[in-house]
């Protein structure tokens, strides 16, 4: 079995409403060393052997990420075809 780990983040120019609130909350807890917070999604896919990067990319483009406002990153592990 292969595994893909997909990280989805808002494009840098898109307002990250959650990140702003979480940053304020961390500061109010005294974690002053936090300069910025970016909220994103992490999706882990368990895949049949043989499912490759291009297919995972298609899943991201078609469903998992919203290309209008989000970027995605894929990491494949355990023998998935590159």
């Amino acid at each position: 079995m292969a595994r893909a780990r997909i990280t989805i983040r808002l494009k840098p120019t898109v307002l990250d409403t959650q990140g702003a609130v979480v940053k304020t909350a961390l500061h109010s807890l005294g974690f002053d060393g936090v300069l910025d917070v970016h909220m994103g999604k992490s999706i882990q896919l368990d895949l049949e052997a043989g499912v490759g990067r291009s297919e995972v990319e298609a899943m991201c483009r078609q469903l998992l990420a919203n290309p209008v406002i989000e970027d995605f990153e894929i990491e494949l592990t355990d023998g998935a075809n590159a």
């Binding site: 120019t13 307002l15 409403t17 919203n66």
Partner: protein, 746 residues
């Protein structure tokens, strides 16, 4: 202004380059000439940007304003509130109601969730910007065919966007509609409506006054969101300018909720001279329009505007459509008070300039002057009377022979098919995603003929709202279709016992530069105007959205009517579901209605045809029907009431049965036919009356001079129409309920 003081930035570009920039931003050569002529000099790049947004349809209404002049904005029956961002009327001497509709079609087509969410955010700001607390919301949604996966993607995103935003800020969604038609493939419609209530002494103006008064910016920081969204995104058909699509705006309901509270609290202090929300064209729109409205000018410094991104050009700051931002003029000396007040709500507010008495909007970027424009000139775009021409398809559609439509093999099957069709089936999948009980004033939520809220400050007074759109009938006859639409909205209010008072209209049309589309627009507006005058309704606000076209063609012309009425006592209203076995079911209004299958759901669903010539509504007949129904509801004589609209009599009966979870035994006055069962003639209502009061009802209907028939009685678990059909209420309900959930899950 003094020509010698031409802002320096202009010198950086050649006149040719400036002209090119103007065209890139959507200004026409004619408009560019007017700008040169009006200013008597070359504009700066920043100034061109400002003109491009202020003179676009979304802000300046150059192509619609002349036509909109037909709409009655006053009425003999209400004291109308004018001047506010969203119009309204005086519900009582102490309370004002404001209402407005706004479209967010193009943003929603690009990014359904955020497009719809920011549409709701924007319309809610229009309400509290005049000091009113938002008390109800509505939305009208139109998509391509439900069987298209992309439609489902849009539906899912739009509904979640509308819901998440409205739910977060705690405004109940009470009215709306969802419908599907292939003409919206590639260009969905998302119109959001909001209603607010304000004590009259707290209403806020949007007119800048008092030279030297500070101008404050409050709310979220400014980023590059949606730059030129109104001029570029809303002024092109889809397909023609994909690469011009700017970044979408992102909504933050959490900030909006705090803005509502801060602004409403500020409205009680007397420190606020004027307030306006930043919607389309953000800073440009608020500064110029507030100045123009007060006959004043402003001097603002862009460097003082809090930013989210670095390196923004002046024009970007001026055009940004970042959400959840407000502009205020504050009485001099109270700026710190206002800043502290916003601070308590954990919002930032900063002084960015002051009101001037020269009528000029002067924009500085730090030390440098980047624009200096007469506010009045900037906010007065040229108006166009565009060429129009009767669309060629009309004659062909009108020639369609309704008498050749075959009768269905089984009326029962036809009813089941209709009740389960995408446009008539249950909307629960949608409305359950909207909080409709928050604020604890909801007397009737979505699902009936109109939403009703109690006005706690004036209990037992209430208001009822409905939002109705029409596309097929307007497509088939723009003028009559629009009149039918106004009549239907008013009928929805009558059925809950409300007297209609004010109208807001959302006008969604294709490219106005094409004469057949402009004809549709003109005729539909004329129809709305005439009907509103006949009903004595004031159109107090509205919105125009043009260029709703995709590569496949234009949408059906789609005016949306938001209508609000008054309920004197919220304890005396009606809903649609059959209440008790033995109640008599009566049809108020005409029964035999030749030609009423024209443009019907029946034709569309069972025969795949959109054709025929819509009937003309007689407003005097309609008013008589509505009047007597309203009186019967208010006196308690009518136990339930439901207007006949799409799907006609049979569908209306089925809806009453499903909602009441009980059947009825009906006998038709005429021979059974598709026309009798599914025709969509206007001016008709089904009501139920307790059996022992039927003669009382008969007398009242006779006095009113309204035709009516006793159709039968409530009871049993079947809807049976003698000799025509017999269907179990459970079966109807199952067909009605499953359509949307079955395609939307998971």
């Amino acid at each position: 202004m003094n020509e010698n003081e031409t802002p320096r930035a202009a010198e950086l570009l050649t006149p040719e380059q400036l002209k090119q920039a103007a065209f890139d931003w959507g200004l026409t050569p004619y408009e560019y000439e007017r700008i040169l002529e009006g200013l008597g000099r070359q504009p700066t790049l920043t100034e061109i940007a400002m003109f491009s947004v202020e003179w676009c349809e979304h802000c300046g209404y150059p192509k619609s304003r002349n036509v909109l002049g037909m709409l009655p904005n006053t009425s003999a029956s209400v004291e109308v509130l004018v001047g506010a961002d969203s119009g309204g009327f005086y519900l009582t001497p102490d309370l004002a109601v404001v209402m407005k509709v706004e479209s967010h079609n193009h943003p929603s087509q690009v990014e359904p969730y955020q497009g719809a969410a920011t549409g709701v955010g924007g319309i809610i700001r229009d309400i509290f910007t005049c000091g009113a607390r938002p008390v109800a919301a509505g939305n009208s949604l139109r998509f391509g065919s439900l069987s298209d996966p992309y439609t489902r993607h849009l539906l899912r995103g739009v509904v979640k966007g509308v819901g998440d935003y409205g739910n977060s800020i705690g405004v109940p969604t009470l009215a709306g509609e969802v419908s599907f038609n292939a003409s919206y493939t590639g260009n969905c419609l998302v119109n959001a409506m909001a209603v607010g209530i304000a004590p009259t002494d707290r209403l806020l103006s949007a007119a800048a006054r008092g030279a030297g008064n500070p101008v404050l910016y409050a709310g979220s920081r400014t980023g590059r969101d949606g730059i030129g969204g109104c001029s570029v995104l809303a002024s092109h058909e889809f397909g023609e300018g994909e690469e011009k699509r700017p970044t979408v705006q992102i909504g933050d309901p959490f900030t909006e909720k705090r803005l509502i509270e801060a602004c409403l609290e500020a409205a009680t202090t007397g420190w606020i001279v004027a307030m306006k929300d930043m919607g389309a064209a953000g800073v440009t729109c608020t500064t110029s329009e507030m100045s123009a409205e007060g006959g004043m000018g402003m001097r603002i410094d862009l460097q003082r505007i809090p930013r989210r991104e670095s390196g923004m050009q002046p024009y970007e700051v001026l055009m940004s459509e970042s959400q959840e931002r407000m502009l205020m003029v504050v009485a001099r000396g109270h700026e710190d008070d206002v800043i502290r007040l916003f601070g308590r709500w954990e919002l930032s507010a900063v002084v960015i300039g002051e009101v001037t008495d020269d009528g000029i909007l002067t924009v500085l970027d730090g030390g440098e002057e980047v624009a200096a424009l007469p506010a009045q000139f900037l906010t007065t775009p040229p108006r166009y009377d565009l060429p129009y021409e009767r669309p060629a398809y009309l004659s062909e559609k009108w020639a369609y022979d309704l008498s050749a439509v075959p009768e269905p093999e089984s009326y029962g099957e036809a009813l089941l098919t209709l009740i389960g069709s995408p446009n008539l089936c249950s909307r629960q999948w949608v409305t359950e995603q909207y909080d409709h009980t928050v604020q604890a004033n909801t007397v009737q939520g979505p699902g009936g003929d109109a939403g009703i809220i109690r006005v706690r400050e004036a209990a037992p007074l209430g208001v009822a709202v409905t939002m109705d759109g029409s596309s097929r009938l307007v497509y088939l006859d723009p003028y009559e279709g629009a009149r039918l639409l106004v009549a239907e909205a008013a009928r929805n209010l009558a059925c809950v016992g409300a007297e209609p008072k004010i109208v807001t209209d959302g006008l969604n049309f294709g490219n106005p530069d094409k004469p057949d589309r402009y004809y549709q627009f003109r005729e539909a507006v004329r129809g709305i105007a005439d009907a509103c005058r006949e009903f004595e309704l004031a159109v107090i606000s509205g919105n125009v959205s043009f260029y709703n076209e995709s590569p496949e063609g234009p949408i059906h012309p789609t005016p949306i009517i938001g209508m609000l009425g008054v309920v004197p006592d919220v304890n005396r209203t009606a809903s649609i579901g059959f209440r008790a076995d033995g109640d008599r079911v009566i049809l108020v209004g005409a029964s035999g209605c030749p030609g009423s299958l024209a443009g019907s759901e029946y034709l569309a669903v069972l025969h795949g045809v959109e054709a025929g010539r819509p009937l003309s509504v007689s407003v005097s007949d309609e008013k008589r029907v509505q009047c007597v129904v309203r009186d019967m509801v208010r006196s308690g004589l009518a136990v339930t009431a439901h207007d006949l609209s799409e799907g006609g009599l049979a569908v209306a009966l089925a809806e009453c049965a499903i909602r009441g979870r009980r059947g009825a035994r009906i006998r038709l006055p005429d021979v059974a036919s598709a026309e009798a069962l599914f025709g969509e003639a206007p001016s008709r209502v089904i009501a139920t009356v307790a059996a022992d009061r039927i003669s009382e009802a008969a007398a009242q209907l006779a006095t009113a001079g309204v035709p009516w028939v006793d159709l039968g009685e409530v009871g049993g678990d079947q809807l049976s129409i003698e000799g025509t059909l017999e269907v179990g209420v459970d079966e109807l309900e199952a067909r009605w309920e499953q359509t949307i959930p079955s395609v939307m899950s998971p």
